[in-house]
């Protein structure tokens, strides 16, 4: 690390990217391997993708995960945006320290603690008030919303901080009612942050193994839970194929979102 020779910094940068992407590339390459032995190349084949399509257990789990992820992302965006608004625009209020702490802590709290704590809460609630009856998709969704709303709040917060409240003030001065100001002025301004937050909450939920394992019940196995149990038994090219599908989906999703945001931004600059 020497400021005089930026070439050193840039070669370390290149090494860093190679480190980040080499495992993903090897995963994708071996998904097209003919052999079941993941490490021995035996010719090109797409048979693992075909067998993936016939793996009902994996597909069922993917469907469960997808539904949880959509519900989670939607709820987390609403709650996270409310929390961010309160933290950025309300100045000091009585619940602020508690809210700030509970928004910040899930970002670093180890999964095992969040999972165990949520499960013990659900068990205690079921004993006391009879809800939630048993554990499954509902409990997984609640636990996921609780930690992913923190990520949404952080994204929306950074957007709100940068945004000048004078636009909202002007609308108020011109006689717009508060809810109208919110929907006509504030919401469009923070929409990119809400979209980014929704996507992040969606992937966080789709990705979570530990919390879901704690709060899940019979009949509600998420995709990571099924992947984990098959990975424990050793590597399988089918998982490589699944990983490739996920990587392609996520990358194209982000590319499309990025392109849409870029176009929006460009149009706005054009309009100004």
């Amino acid at each position: 690390m020497n400021g005089k020779r930026p070439s050193l910094v840039f070669s370390l940068l290149a090494f860093g990217y190679a480190f980040l992407y080499a495992p993903i590339v090897s995963l994708i390459v071996y998904s097209f391997n003919e052999s079941r032995l993941v490490t021995v190349w035996a010719g090109f084949s797409t048979k693992w993708y075909v067998s993936l399509l016939h793996n009902d257990q994996l597909l069922g789990a993917a469907w469960v995960s997808l539904r949880i992820a959509v519900m989670n992302a939607t709820l987390a965006v609403v709650l996270g945006a409310l929390a961010a608004t309160a933290l950025v625009r309300f100045g000091r209020f009585r619940g602020r320290p508690a809210l700030a702490l509970m928004v910040g802590a899930p970002l670093v709290m180890p999964d095992v603690i969040l999972g165990l704590a949520s499960l013990l809460l659900f068990v205690a609630m079921e004993q006391l008030i009879g809800w939630p009856a048993g554990r499954g998709m509902t409990t997984i969704t609640i636990a996921h919303v609780t930690f992913s709303l923190a990520y949404v709040a952080v994204i929306v917060q950074s957007r709100l901080v940068r945004q000048d409240p004078s636009l909202e003030e002007a609308a108020m001065d011109l006689g717009a009612r508060p809810w109208k100001v919110f929907f006509v002025i504030t919401l469009p301004l923070i929409a990119p942050a809400l979209a980014a937050g929704w996507l992040l909450a969606f992937t966080l939920s789709l990705d979570d193994l530990v919390i879901a394992s704690f709060v899940s019940g019979p009949g509600a196995s998420t995709l990571p839970m099924v992947v984990y149990s098959s990975v424990r038994l050793g590597i399988s090219p089918e998982i490589n194929a699944l990983a490739t599908v996920l990587v392609v989906l996520v990358t194209s999703g982000i590319a499309i979102a990025g392109w849409l945001l870029h176009r929006r931004e460009a149009r706005r600059q054009l309009a100004e």
């Binding site: 005089k4 490490t39 899930p106 999964d111 909202e168 530990v210 998982i239």
Partner: protein, 303 residues
């Protein structure tokens, strides 16, 4: 800029109340309250049944409320060397991996911050992108690379650096590697945030005054980026201490980490009170770093 409350909120009192109360209630119920329940169950006894722990409060005859606190679980944590060793080992592994992450992440963040303006966002996106793909699958990728007849060994044999395949998987080395790999984006992002905000005229001034670049790096750049170093390190260290997936899949049977111990107490031994006691001890260990992280976040926001 002073923080101003938005006018529509100032005038719309009931709305303002609801906006703050809804997330506060949700987090209080599903994030705050569970910690009290964890503490409560860590003080109860294991019983056979569902739920597998004894009640803490009992109404005994005559309407008296009796509280039975059972500290046996915590005594167990202290006496059985398994738990203490797991705690010490977790902190050691997490600290080493955090340091390695910093050593790799700092030049990366610096490189991105000093790259051409048009390149910065794409470079940053490339750091974030792996974070969006499944964590479990990225850890799984390393199994294929590190195992006995895996990619790494094949390459090393082919170059001729080694004669025999090295045992790479199921070692502490693999655990460190996995943590650095999984958490690198969390280190790079806060570092980039502070490094890109840095005033470059400071470095020019240092150069004008005859300061050598390497000295300027240590005396100007590094001290300026301290909040980023601290935030990045906490974002890696705190979750890494309680990490489960990486030590479970990449570590060996003798890799003792507290997240794995908690998991097996809960899922294999079905001993909820001991698992809760492990969680309480882990929380006590992490409360200082978490509060420090929270203070950093509060201070980083412009007011």
């Amino acid at each position: 800029m002073r923080r101003r409350s938005a006018p529509w909120l100032r005038r719309f009192r009931p709305g303002r109340w609801v906006v703050a109360a809804v997330p506060l209630l949700w987090l209080g119920l599903f994030f705050g309250l569970p910690f009290f329940i964890v503490v409560r169950i860590s003080l109860s006894e294991t019983v056979i049944g569902l739920p597998p722990y004894s009640a803490l409060l009992e109404w005994i005859e005559g309407g008296m409320l009796s509280i039975r606190l059972n500290f046996a679980n915590f005594a167990l944590l202290w006496q059985d060397s398994l738990y203490l060793d797991a705690f010490i080992n977790s902190v050691r592994v997490a600290a080493t991996a955090t340091l390695l992450c910093l050593l790799l992440g700092y030049p990366m963040a610096l490189g991105i911050a000093r790259a051409r303006q048009s390149l910065r966002i794409p470079l940053l996106l490339l750091v974030i992108l792996p974070f969006w793909t499944s964590f479990l699958i990225r850890v799984y990728a390393w199994i294929g690379i590190l195992k006995g007849n895996g990619l790494a060994n094949n390459v090393l044999l082919w170059i001729g650096w080694i004669e025999q395949p090295l045992p790479l998987l199921h070692t502490d080395f693999a655990v460190h590697l996995g943590i650095v790999y999984g958490y690198l984006p969390f280190m790079v992002l806060p570092l980039y945030a502070t490094l890109s905000r840095m005033d470059s005229s400071l470095l020019e001034a240092a150069a004008d005054l005859g300061c050598r670049p390497s000295r300027a790096f240590w005396r100007v750049t590094v001290p300026q980026s301290r909040p980023g170093i601290l935030a990045g390190s906490l974002l890696v260290f705190v979750p890494a201490v309680g990490e489960f997936v990486i030590p479970d899949l990449l570590g060996g049977p003798d890799t003792l980490m507290i997240g794995k111990v908690l998991w097996s107490e809960f899922f294999n031994n079905r001993d909820w009170p001991v698992a809760a006691a492990v969680a309480v001890a882990l929380l006590v260990l992490l409360v200082a770093p978490v509060l420090l992280f929270e203070r950093l976040r509060e201070r980083a926001q412009p007011r």
